[in-house]
C-alpha cells in the first residue's frame, strides 16, 4: 500500500540584510517604529533591499507524513484546472492551481519569518495568526514560484513529482481563516494584459513632414537613444512604414515601405518601431516572443529541441511584419495555426514543449482496460470540430491594415475535401488569415491546409479516462498514445485502437484524470513530392529573385553534404497559369534564378508568363543631333546556375526593343518641328513611346503593350520606328536605330529543357 504525500512550496521574497546593519540604513525611530520583517512590504530601506528568497514548504495535516521532510501542516487541499493543449489551433487554455491553507498560531521562528522575534514585545504565538501576519508581510507574491509536490512515503522530496507554477493571486478570508493562492502555468505570461509585441514606442513627430521629406525628428528629446535602434523600420501615424537610420532623435527616412504609401504626417503623429521576422524558423520566432516580450525565463525553453522538431517535421520558415503592439499569445496562436504546431507547458519538467502535428506512432504506449480505472472511460463525438474546406489567406499586403480583412491579402489557398462534403452532406469552412506566410508561400499554405484537413476531415473523438497513479503507463501531457475501449471497433466489430494525443491531464491523489483527442492527422507530402521545396508564384509580380523567394519560405539551402550525389535540396519554382512575372527595369531580368550552393537541384516551371520589360521608343530628332535610337528590351529569365526548365505551355518572352525615333522635316534642317517618337517595345512592363527633349511640336510614339510593340509616330516626314513585339527588336529608321530585343533566356547554357520547349520569344544567350 502506498501512502500519498502532497506538499506545496512557495518562494517568498526575503531580505538578506540585518536591520540597521550595513548596507541596511534603516533605524528605529527614523525609518520606522518597529523593525522590519525582512519582507518587501515592511522594508524601510528599499534601495538596499537584497532579495534572498526563502522557500516555505507546506503539507497536509496527516500523521503519515514523514518527519524527515519538514513542512508546515496547514495545507487544507488543492484543486487544479489543468491546461488544455490545442492541437494546431492556438495556445489552448492555461492550467490553474488553487491551494488552500488553514490559519493557525505560529511562533514566527524559522527562516522566512521574523529575524527579530526575540526582540518583539509580544508573544507571536498569542498575537495574531500565521496567515494574518503573512498577508501583511508578503502582499507581493505575483510572479513568484509555487511548486506542487506529490509523492509517496519513502521517497525523498527530490524523487517526487514536482509541478511548477507561477503565483497569480491570493485571497485571505480573514473570517474563515482560509488563505488561498492561485497559480498559473508559465504560458499565462503571454497573455495580452502583460505581453505585447512589438513594445509600444513612445516617440512622436516633433513637427509634420510632407510626403517626400526624408528626415523627421522625434520627441520627447532623448527618446531616440532610449527606444530606437540605429536603423530599422517605423510606422508613422499608423499609416506609413519607413525604413530609417537614426542619429540622436533625427531619423533619415526611406519612405513608403512594405506596401504602404508616402503621405503627409502631422506633428504629434506617433512613431512606432516595427518588429520584423524575416524567414525565421517557427521555433526561433516563438522562443523570441516568449523570452523577449513575455519575460518567460529562457531556461523554460530548450530551443535546440524545438529546432530539431521543426527541422524534422516542418522544414519551413515564416515571416511577419509587426508594426502595432499585438498580444503575444495571439501572435503565437496564429503561428501555431500556420505551422501546425502544438505548444504547451510541461509543469513537471518546467519546460515549454513544442511539437509539430504529426501522426501517432503505431507502437506508442497503449491505454486499455488493463490500466484504465474501472468506470472512468467516456467517449464523445465532436461533430462541430469537422472541417471540409480551409481558406487560408496569405501574402499580407499592408502590415498596418486589418489582420482579418481579406482585401489585405494578395493570395488565398483553398483546400476542399469534396468527398468529405459529400459524405457528411455539407461544407464546414474554416478561414485563416495568415500574417506569417509571405508571397510565394502557396505550397506552405496548401500543405498546412492539407494537414488541417487530415486532422479534421473526420471529426476527432474526445476520450476521457482515469489511470491509476503510479501505474505502468504514465500519461504525459501532449504526448501520443494508442487507446482501446469496448466501443472502439472496426466495421466487423473487432477491437480497434485509436491514436490519441493527451490534451488535458489532471493529476489527482490516486488517479490521473486524462482527456485526449483522437489524432487523425496523416503525413502530408509536399506539393511535388516529399522533400521538395515548392515555391508557387500565384500572383503577378516583378523582378523576382528565386533565392530571395526561397529564403523567405524555407531554411537556407545547404547543397551537397558529401554524402552522395544529388543529396542537395530539391527546389521547384512554379509560375502559375495566368500569372505574369515582369520587370520594371530593362536592366533587371523579370526572373533571376539567383545564387545557390552547389548541389541544389532547381526546376523552374513556367505555366504562365515570364516577360522582360519593353524598351522605350527612341525620341524624335531634335536639332542637329538627330533622332535617338530605341532602347533595348529587358531579359525575361536569367540564370547563372544550372536549372531544369519546364515551360511547355508557358511563355518566356524577352522585352521588345523600342522603335527608333523619326522627324517631321528634312534631315539636317533646324529646327525640326513636330518631331516623331518611336514606339515602345512590348513587355511587362511595356516600353514608353518615344518623346522629344524640347516641348514644342512633339508627336510621341505609342507605348507598347504586353502583347505587341507600340506604333512609331508617322505624322511628319520621317516616320518613327515601331516598337518590337515580344522578343523582337524595335524598328530602325533612317534617323535612329531600333532597340535590341530583350533575351528570353540569359544563361541558356545552364538550362536543361525538360520536355518540349514552350513559347519562348527573344534570343537565348549566355
Amino acid at each position: 500500500m502506498s501512502k500519498s504525500l502532497v506538499y506545496v512550496e512557495i518562494d517568498i521574497p526575503f531580505c538578506a540584510n540585518i536591520y540597521g546593519e550595513a548596507p541596511c540604513t534603516a533605524a528605529l525611530g527614523v525609518t520606522g517604529e518597529i523593525k522590519c520583517f525582512n519582507s518587501l512590504a515592511t522594508c524601510q530601506d528599499r534601495p538596499n533591499y537584497i532579495d534572498d528568497p526563502v522557500t516555505l514548504r507546506f503539507s497536509e495535516d496527516s500523521v503519515h507524513y514523514p518527519k524527515e521532510i519538514e513542512a508546515i501542516p496547514s495545507l487544507v487541499g488543492h484543486s487544479m484546472t489543468p491546461a488544455t493543449v490545442s492541437l494546431g489551433r492556438d495556445l489552448g487554455q492555461r492550467a490553474s492551481l488553487s491551494v488552500t491553507f488553514k490559519d493557525h498560531r505560529w511562533p514566527d521562528t524559522a527562516s522566512g519569518f521574523d529575524k527579530y522575534v526575540s526582540e518583539r514585545p509580544y508573544d507571536p504565538v498569542k498575537q495574531g495568526t500565521f496567515w494574518g501576519k503573512f498577508r501583511s508581510r508578503q502582499p507581493f507574491l505575483r510572479g513568484r514560484a509555487l511548486r506542487l509536490i506529490r509523492g509517496f512515503v519513502g521517497q525523498a522530496i527530490g524523487e517526487m513529482e514536482t509541478r511548477h507554477y507561477v503565483i497569480d493571486s491570493f485571497d485571505f478570508g480573514a473570517a474563515t481563516g482560509r488563505y488561498t493562492i492561485t497559480a498559473k502555468d508559465v504560458l499565462k505570461l503571454l497573455d495580452g494584459d502583460r505581453a505585447q509585441a512589438p513594445r509600444l514606442s513612445q516617440g512622436f513627430l516633433v513637427a509634420g513632414i510632407d510626403d517626400d521629406d526624408t528626415e523627421a525628428t522625434l520627441s520627447p528629446a532623448g527618446i531616440g537613444d532610449l527606444e530606437y535602434p540605429a536603423s530599422g523600420y517605423v510606422a508613422i501615424g499608423g499609416k506609413e512604414i519607413c525604413s530609417f537610420t537614426r542619429s540622436g532623435d533625427v531619423l533619415t527616412l526611406t519612405r513608403a515601405q512594405l506596401g504602404t504609401i508616402a503621405i503627409e504626417h502631422d506633428a504629434q503623429d506617433r512613431v512606432q518601431l516595427g518588429l520584423r521576422y524575416v524567414a525565421q524558423d517557427a521555433a526561433v520566432i516563438v522562443e523570441d516572443l516568449c523570452t523577449e516580450y513575455a519575460n518567460v525565463d529562457p531556461s523554460f525553453i530548450t530551443l535546440a529541441n524545438w529546432q530539431a522538431e521543426t527541422a524534422a517535421f516542418l522544414d519551413r520558415v515564416f515571416s511577419a511584419d509587426l508594426f502595432e503592439p499585438t498580444p503575444v499569445n495571439q501572435l503565437v496562436s496564429e503561428l501555431i495555426e500556420d505551422a501546425a504546431l502544438s505548444i504547451w507547458y510541461d509543469e513537471v519538467t518546467q519546460q515549454i514543449r513544442l511539437r509539430v502535428i504529426r501522426p501517432i506512432s503505431t507502437d506508442a504506449d497503449t491505454f486499455d482496460r488493463n490500466n484504465i480505472l474501472s468506470e472512468t472511460t467516456h467517449t464523445r463525438e465532436q461533430p462541430n470540430e469537422r472541417i471540409s474546406q480551409v481558406w487560408r489567406y496569405f501574402a499580407k499586403r499592408n502590415p498596418l491594415e486589418g489582420q482579418n480583412d481579406p482585401d489585405n491579402y494578395r493570395s488565398v489557398a483553398v483546400t476542399i475535401d469534396a468527398d468529405a462534403e459529400a459524405d457528411y452532406g455539407s461544407s464546414a469552412i474554416h478561414k485563416i488569415y495568415s500574417r506569417w506566410i509571405p508571397f510565394g508561400g502557396r505550397s506552405i499554405a496548401t500543405k498546412a491546409n492539407a494537414l488541417f484537413l487530415s486532422r479534421y476531415r473526420d471529426p476527432p473523438r474526445r476520450f476521457n479516462f482515469h489511470s491509476f497513479r503510479g501505474g505502468v503507463v504514465m500519461p504525459t501531457l501532449g504526448q501520443g498514445y494508442r487507446f482501446k475501449a469496448i466501443g472502439i471497433q472496426d466495421a466487423t466489430g473487432a477491437e480497434d485502437d485509436a491514436p490519441i494525443q493527451i490534451t488535458r491531464l489532471k493529476p489527482g491523489d490516486a488517479a490521473n484524470e486524462v482527456e485526449a483527442e483522437e489524432m487523425l492527422a496523416t503525413a502530408v507530402e509536399d506539393e511535388e513530392g516529399d522533400g521538395e521545396r515548392v515555391i508557387i508564384i500565384d500572383g503577378n509580380a516583378f523582378n523576382l529573385n528565386g533565392r530571395t523567394l526561397h529564403d523567405a519560405l524555407f531554411p537556407a539551402p545547404i547543397g551537397e553534404t558529401g554524402e552522395g550525389e544529388g543529396d542537395g535540396e530539391v527546389i521547384v519554382f512554379i509560375v502559375e497559369n495566368g500569372v505574369t512575372v515582369g520587370s520594371t527595369d530593362t536592366a533587371n531580368p523579370a526572373f533571376t534564378v539567383g545564387d545557390w550552393p552547389a548541389g541544389v537541384d532547381i526546376t523552374v516551371t513556367v505555366n504562365g508568363r515570364v516577360q522582360g520589360k519593353g524598351g522605350d521608343g527612341g525620341d524624335g530628332a531634335s536639332g542637329e543631333g538627330g533622332a535617338l535610337t530605341g532602347l533595348p528590351g529587358g531579359v525575361a529569365l536569367h540564370t547563372d546556375y544550372p536549372i531544369n526548365l519546364e515551360d511547355d505551355g508557358g511563355e518566356i518572352w524577352g522585352g521588345g526593343g523600342g522603335g527608333g525615333g523619326g522627324a517631321s522635316g528634312s534631315p539636317g534642317a533646324f529646327p525640326f518641328s513636330d518631331v516623331n517618337g518611336g514606339g515602345g517595345g512590348a513587355g511587362t512592363n511595356p516600353g514608353d513611346g518615344g518623346d522629344a527633349p524640347i516641348s514644342f511640336g512633339i508627336n510621341p510614339g505609342d507605348p507598347g503593350t504586353s502583347e505587341a510593340g507600340g506604333a512609331g509616330n508617322t505624322t511628319g516626314t520621317i516616320d518613327a520606328g515601331d516598337g518590337g513585339d515580344p522578343g523582337q527588336a524595335g524598328e530602325t529608321t533612317t534617323l535612329g536605330a531600333g532597340g535590341a530585343a530583350g533575351a528570353a533566356i540569359d544563361g541558356i547554357s545552364n538550362v536543361t529543357t525538360i520536355g518540349e520547349a514552350g513559347d519562348r520569344r527573344g534570343p537565348e544567350i549566355n
Binding site: D61, S62, A110
Partner: protein, 291 residues
Amino acid sequence: MIVLAENLVLSPTFALSANQPLIGWHNLVTAANVSATSEAAGFPISNVANPITAPGGRWRADYEITGEGEGEEGGPAVQSITIAVNSVEELDYVAIARHNLASIGAPITIYGQSEEGEGEGEGFAELVQETLLANDGPALFRFEKQALTDIRIDIGIGSSAPEIAVIYAGALLILQRRIFVGHTPIPYGREANIINGRSEAGDFLGRIVLSEMTATAVDLQNIDPAFYRSDIDPFILASKETPFFFAWRPGDYPGEVGFAWMANSPKPVNQRTADSDGLMQIDLQMTGISL
C-alpha cells in the same frame, strides 16, 4: 510513553492510582522561563513553550556532530533545558512531544530543585532517572508531587542534534475512574482515507492512503460533581485553545500516551439525580499524535 520516577513506584499513594487516566494539561513552561544550553538558528528554545508541533515550531540544539569527543571544541555536548517554574503549586510531571530522542539514541534525565542553589547546577535533585525512550512518541515523566523552583532536563549525546517541539511541566489531572471498556487507545485509533485501484479488467492496481490521523474518545462517567468543578472544568476550559497529554491506563499500558486536542466542545451533563450526589458525565472527542 509513561516514565515513572523510581521513587514514585514505591509510593503507597501512587500504587492506588497507577492505572487512573492521566491528563497533562497544566503547564508552567513559558517562552520567558525556559532556556537551553544551545539552540540552532531558527529553532529557539522558546518554541517548546508553545504547543505547535510543526517544523519551524520546534527547538533544536546547535549541535554539530564533528566526530570529536564530548566537551571538545566543536563536539557534541549534553544539552540542558532549564525551566524556572518558581511554582508555589506542587508539580508532578514533565511531558514532551514531537521529539527525536529515541531516534538519535539520546537519554533524558529530569532534575528539579526546590530552592535556588548558590551556584549553577547546585541544588538540583534527580526527579526521573536517566531513560532511553523506546520511540519518538509523546513521553510523560511522572514524579512525586512537590513544589519546585526549577526543572532541568538533561539530554545526553545522541547521533545528531536533539529536537523537541513541546514541553509541558505542571500538575497532572488524575481522573477519578479508570477506563475499562468502550475506549480505543489513541495509538490504535487510526483513521485513514484510502482509495483502491481496480482496472476495467477487474485487476487490483493498488491502494493509496491519502490521509491518516489518530483519534479516540473517552466517555467519562460518574464524576463527582465537586471534582468536576474543581479539577476537570479548568481542563475543559483550557482545552479550547491548548492540547494536552493523555494516558488512558498508564500502569498497564505506559506506551499509550497521546498529545491530543479536542475535536468537540465537551459539555458535562448530570448523570444521576441529586440523591446520588449529582454525578456527572462528559464525552471527550480527541485527535492527536501518538508517534
